[in-house]
């Protein structure tokens, strides 16, 4: 269609539309039926370009034509999904309804110089004003496009929050590509990550308790393997062992072998070893993790497996391995299953072994006092119960572990517990419980049933492969779509780390450790075996500690921030309070703040320390302090605790 023809066509179109407009209005008045524009129901939301109703990647005359075909059908019935696969794109004037106003708006823009369609236009993006009333089921031209909102969402969940650089990087490479990279941490080369490597070189996490905590924070802040660090935190907490129970074990229960500080070193070694094992196995299979936990000296001591012997089974591990680690509370198992399960694990204990024998259940034990030995998992055949065990008796899950495997064949005895773990790892109830817990961590506190079903399917098809499971979760519509954004609370660690990352702070992690300790949320420090709840109770003092940590931006030099340099690097006008505020709220909230939130920040930055309005001046003595206080202010918004 050439220009001349199109003008003629437009005139005819306008005339026809006007006639229809009148007739529809008259008809409504006559019938009394509240016709009016039809609100469009809830559905999918995805990036699109407003005005491109026929989803061909161009905003042109074909678009108002397509909308009119929908509004005034003449031929056989065609489904809405076929005509307008992205209804939001057809809502040209962004009033959340599809009516005659939309083609008129677009035609006015295209041919008479009227206003351009509201955002997103002309580039791909999410609808900044709606998302509720009108949806976009399909918009192929923006496939692969990642907008601010999606990138920020992914970084709040998969990572410990956006950094200025990472936000742009995820937008450039695409959210799905970033997730795929994160799912393959071995592909991420950190040999030149000096910030991380230099900091890690100062730490001795193997033997220093504080350095163990700081290792988690250093990696969370600066490692590029962000998903891996989130998963390490998750599995450490899922298979929770309490540091101070281990310390007490070494201090009080070994006949004076260790004093307090020596006992802390031993406890640190166990927690560090366990955590690094979870890190190695975080994306392998659930059974691998379950076995690693069950044979971890930290777990063996924490849940009393070392006291679980033939004739006198200890219930502690048997109950928790089902309730907390695999099946869930009161799922499948009953009280009468606890003892037979405990009997499977009799003889599982710890002793000191030569370092070369570490982890070998049958290697000989050294004396507790042998300074060359390390505390290791050990299977003690003489303490194992070799009688038959029947678990989940009378249910479809019934597991019979036959008697036998004489004491002379220790492998047989050890196999009882391993068979029990394999059974638990293979059960659909475990698939449901673990998938649900991971969905709650990454997607939503309310588990979407369809996603849960997909996860269980993946689990059963792959034997509990965690890479497949995490791919299912993180590449799902439920995660990548807009339905589950901002609807979870950040943990204290996520909240504190994300502030430092958002402003590109540099820290030796000591203040991070202080803040997270104040909030009683240190890794390895939850005293009951259930671990920190995923929905952490947000108390008044925890919120206060968050604000106090943010106030360090202007009060202290650690973490250190160079905000003026950061703003310059990203081309932000240092004279403009609104540009600075917009930049900060974009990195942290992708601009999802109210007009009042934004204006209060601009007012804040445009006033001196006593609150008196005074223009922002990069040459003034208070300039850096103003940037630092407004940074602390914006980092303390309620949304900072959401993710």
């Amino acid at each position: 269609m050439n220009a001349r023809n199109s003008v003629c066509y437009i005139r005819r179109l306008f005339a026809a539309m006007f006639a229809l407009w009148i007739s529809v209005t008259v008809l409504d008045a006559q019938t009394g039926i509240a016709a009016g524009p039809t609100p469009v129901g809830l559905d999918q939301y995805r990036p699109f370009v407003r005005g491109d109703a026929n989803v061909d990647g161009n905003v042109d005359i074909g678009d108002p034509v397509r909308i009119l075909e929908y509004l005034f059908p003449t031929g056989p019935a065609v489904t809405l999904a076929t005509l307008l696969p992205c209804r939001d794109a057809a809502d040209c004037n962004d009033d959340d309804t599809l009516d005659i106003g939309d083609p008129i708006y677009l035609l006015t823009h295209l041919f008479t110089g009227g206003d351009a369609p509201p955002a997103p236009f002309p580039d791909c993006g999410d609808d900044p004003t709606s998302g509720l009333l009108i949806s976009c089921n399909s918009y192929p031209p923006c496939a692969g496009f990642t907008d601010d909102d999606t990138a920020g969402h992914v970084l709040r969940r998969v990572a410990y929050g956006a950094t200025p650089n990472l936000l742009d990087q995820v937008i450039a490479m695409g959210a799905e590509e970033y997730i795929l990279e994160q799912l393959d941490p071995a592909s991420i080369d950190e040999s030149s990550n000096d910030r991380l490597n230099d900091l890690m070189a100062t730490l001795v996490p193997q033997t220093s308790r504080n350095d163990l905590y700081r290792m988690h924070f250093a990696r969370g802040l600066y490692s590029e393997k962000q998903l891996l660090e989130q998963l390490v935190d998750f599995w450490n907490n899922h298979f929770n062992t309490y540091y101070w129970t281990l310390r007490n074990h070494f201090w009080f229960e070994l006949s004076g072998l260790y004093n307090n500080s020596e006992a802390q070193v031993q406890a640190t070694i166990l927690e560090h070893t366990e955590s690094e094992t979870f890190r190695d196995l975080a994306l392998t299979t659930f059974e691998d993790l379950l076995v690693a936990s069950a044979t971890s000296p930290a777990m063996v001591i924490y849940l009393d497996s070392d006291n679980n012997v033939v004739g006198n089974p200890n219930e502690n591990y048997a109950r928790e391995v089902m309730e907390l680690h695999s099946l869930g509370d009161d799922v499948v198992y009953v009280q009468n299953d606890i003892i037979p399960v405990a009997r499977c694990f009799t003889g599982w204990t710890v002793c000191k072994k030569a370092p070369a024998d570490y982890g070998d259940p049958h290697a000989p034990c050294l004396l507790d006092t042998d300074p060359t030995g390390v505390w290791s998992f050990h299977f003690e055949p003489g303490d194992h119960d070799y009688d038959e065990k029947v678990i989940f008796a009378g249910t479809p899950h019934e597991l019979v572990i036959p008697a036998g495997d004489a004491i002379g064949n220790p492998e047989g005895g050890l196999d009882d517990g391993l068979a029990m773990l394999a059974k638990l790892a293979s059960m659909p109830e475990t698939a449901e419980f673990i998938s649900g817990k991971l969905i709650k961590k990454f997607v939503s506190d309310t588990v979407p049933p369809a996603l849960l079903a997909d996860c269980i399917g993946s689990w059963l098809a792959t034997g509990g492969d965690l890479h497949a499971l995490m791919s299912t979760i993180l590449l799902s519509d439920e995660f990548l779509g807009t339905a589950n954004r901002w609807d979870k609370l950040e943990t204290p660690m996520e909240s504190v780390l994300s502030t430092v990352r958002a402003y590109d702070g540099t820290t030796d992690t000591w203040p991070v450790l202080g803040a997270i300790a104040d909030m009683s949320h240190l890794p390895h420090n939850f005293f009951t075996p259930d671990g920190f709840p995923e929905v952490d109770s947000l108390g008044t003092q925890k919120l206060l500690y968050r604000v106090q940590f943010n106030a360090r931006i202007y009060l202290e030099t650690n973490p250190s921030y160079d905000l003026a340099l950061l703003l310059s690097d990203y081309g932000v006008d240092l004279n403009s309070a609104s540009d600075i505020v917009d930049y900060f709220i974009r990195v942290q909230y992708q601009s999802n703040v109210t007009t009042i939130d934004r204006q209060l920040a601009i007012d804040f930055l445009s006033s001196d320390e006593s609150g008196t309005p005074t223009a922002l001046d990069p040459m003034a003595a208070d300039y850096d302090n103003r940037l630092e206080t407004v940074a602390a202010f914006i980092a303390s918004y309620p949304q900072a605790v959401q993710q």
Partner: protein
């Protein structure tokens, strides 16, 4: 960072006021506190302090039913405590010797020792058990509203009050959570806002008639968005600043508190007889809870003590369990003394209640410990409490009751909700609201045990 100190700032403020300060300055929270300070009399009120024993306390070795023949050195080889070594109550039951200090309060008829407290179909899970004790609705894991939260919500005197309840604990207990955000204080010494000018600017001011306020108060006082948690976070921020206003108004200073009389709150650095490491700062939190009871309007405070989940190495007359019990006993005795401070004697108006999610197996396990079981012991103390021993005597206790369920568990005799019910009804005078505080209370057919005088 501050270019001038707080005193200068306040002087500037006073000068500004004399000259006719601008409206925004009048709304400054610092100024509002100064206004309140002149009108800051303590409201008379009934109060409660709850001590949560997390992990499941072994009631059998706490209040020892030596009159039951099942209690012996065969069923409890290392845990058994000879009656001669314990503190006799009534010829059937005795207190663990580590409870000697609690016994002093008992002798004043100010402790109700309640054995066999639980609920039907008691859960053996820490998670579920705690949830049920805290939401008052056994069987419903989805009820996230704590009894204390509902109790405070039902009291018309506390409507809109700045500081009606406070958990002094590391984690915010379910017991205190719910629609009304209550204060959660892990360390009262840190519970304040900075007063340097930048801090004051950061906190800002609540909205006025014609503006949106300023700083964080301007942000947090806006209505919650449709996002889950946004409203809760904002309410938490407002409860935090309101609570701090109240503490400032009352001049509460956690760094300069002197207990009354013989009350002591041993610190970790000077642990006296308390040497074990798991009770970090328990006494500091008890002291801060007592200080809040004495110096503020707070009605309900809660403190937690972990370390009860003694599957192994529990100990008898001495050991881990004895240490935990001695901490409880020391705390109750110090609380009872401190609350009789003549300058603020509220002992007669206060109930101190201990809770735990379940008891432990009557039979010792192979690890010299005990496993999860059913009913356990509750202590209720206070100047207005009927002292005595409940559910542990030859009349109500049949021989062998210790193992009446599954040959290992002690059944419950008193439902914990009846204890809460009596405290809510006869102590707080909120009996008419019982069903809104403890779900379905009136349908449970419970009777008050008679612990409130």
């Amino acid at each position: 960072m501050a270019s001038f100190d707080r005193r200068q700032f306040l002087q500037l403020g006073a000068a500004g006021l004399a000259l006719g300060s601008s409206v925004p300055f009048l709304r400054n929270p610092i100024f509002r506190r100064a206004l309140q300070a002149a009108d800051c009399d303590l409201l008379p009120a009934k109060k409660m302090l709850i001590i949560w024993q997390r992990g499941g306390n072994d009631g059998v070795n706490t209040v020892i039913p030596y009159g039951d023949s099942v209690y012996n050195d065969t069923t409890r080889p290392t845990l058994f405590i000879d009656p001669a070594d314990s503190i006799d109550l009534n010829g059937f039951c005795s207190l663990h010797p580590a409870l000697a200090k609690l016994h002093e309060v008992y002798l004043d008829n100010q402790v109700a020792v309640m054995h066999r407290v639980g609920y039907p179909s008691s859960s053996l899970s820490h998670f579920s058990g705690q949830k049920y004790w805290e939401n008052g609705e056994p069987g419903n894991l989805n009820n996230d509203v704590g009894i204390v939260n509902s109790l405070i919500g039902a009291d018309p005197l506390l409507d809109g009050h700045q500081f009606p309840g406070a958990a002094v604990s590391y984690q915010h207990p379910q017991l205190f959570q719910g629609p009304r955000v209550l204060s959660h204080i892990s360390d009262l010494r840190d519970y304040s806002l900075g007063t340097d000018p930048a801090d004051v600017k950061l906190i800002g001011a609540l909205p006025g008639m014609s503006d949106d306020g300023s700083g964080l108060l301007g942000i947090y006082s806006q209505p919650g968005s449709s996002q889950v948690y946004n409203g809760l976070i904002k309410n938490t921020g407002l409860a935090m600043t309101a609570g701090i206003d109240h503490l400032t108004c009352r001049g509460v200073d956690a760094n300069s508190y002197t207990p009354y009389g013989a009350a002591t709150y041993p610190s970790n650095s000077a642990p006296e007889e308390f040497t074990s490491g798991t009770s970090f700062n328990f006494f500091r939190q008890i002291q801060q809870a007592v200080q809040l009871l004495k110096e503020t309007d707070v009605r309900v405070v809660g403190v937690e003590l972990g370390g009860w989940d003694l599957h192994s190495n529990q100990g008898g007359v001495e050991g881990n369990h004895a240490t935990r019990l001695s901490e409880i006993a020391h705390a109750v005795r110090s609380i009872s003394i401190d609350l009789q401070d003549p300058s603020r004697n509220i002992w007669n108006d206060t109930v101190v209640l201990t809770n735990t999610e379940f008891g432990r197996t009557s039979l010792e396990n192979a690890s010299e410990g005990t496993d999860h079981a059913k009913s356990s012991v509750v202590f209720v103390s206070g100047g207005g409490v009927n002292g005595g021993t409940w559910n542990c005597d030859g009349t109500t206790w049949s021989d062998g009751d210790l193992t009446a369920i599954d040959e290992n568990y002690l059944p419950h005799q008193t439902d914990f909700r009846a204890i809460y019910g009596e405290i809510i009804g006869d102590h707080f005078g909120l009996g008419a609201s019982l069903d809104s505080i403890i779900p379905n209370y009136s349908t449970l057919g419970l009777t008050f045990p008679g612990i409130i005088a």
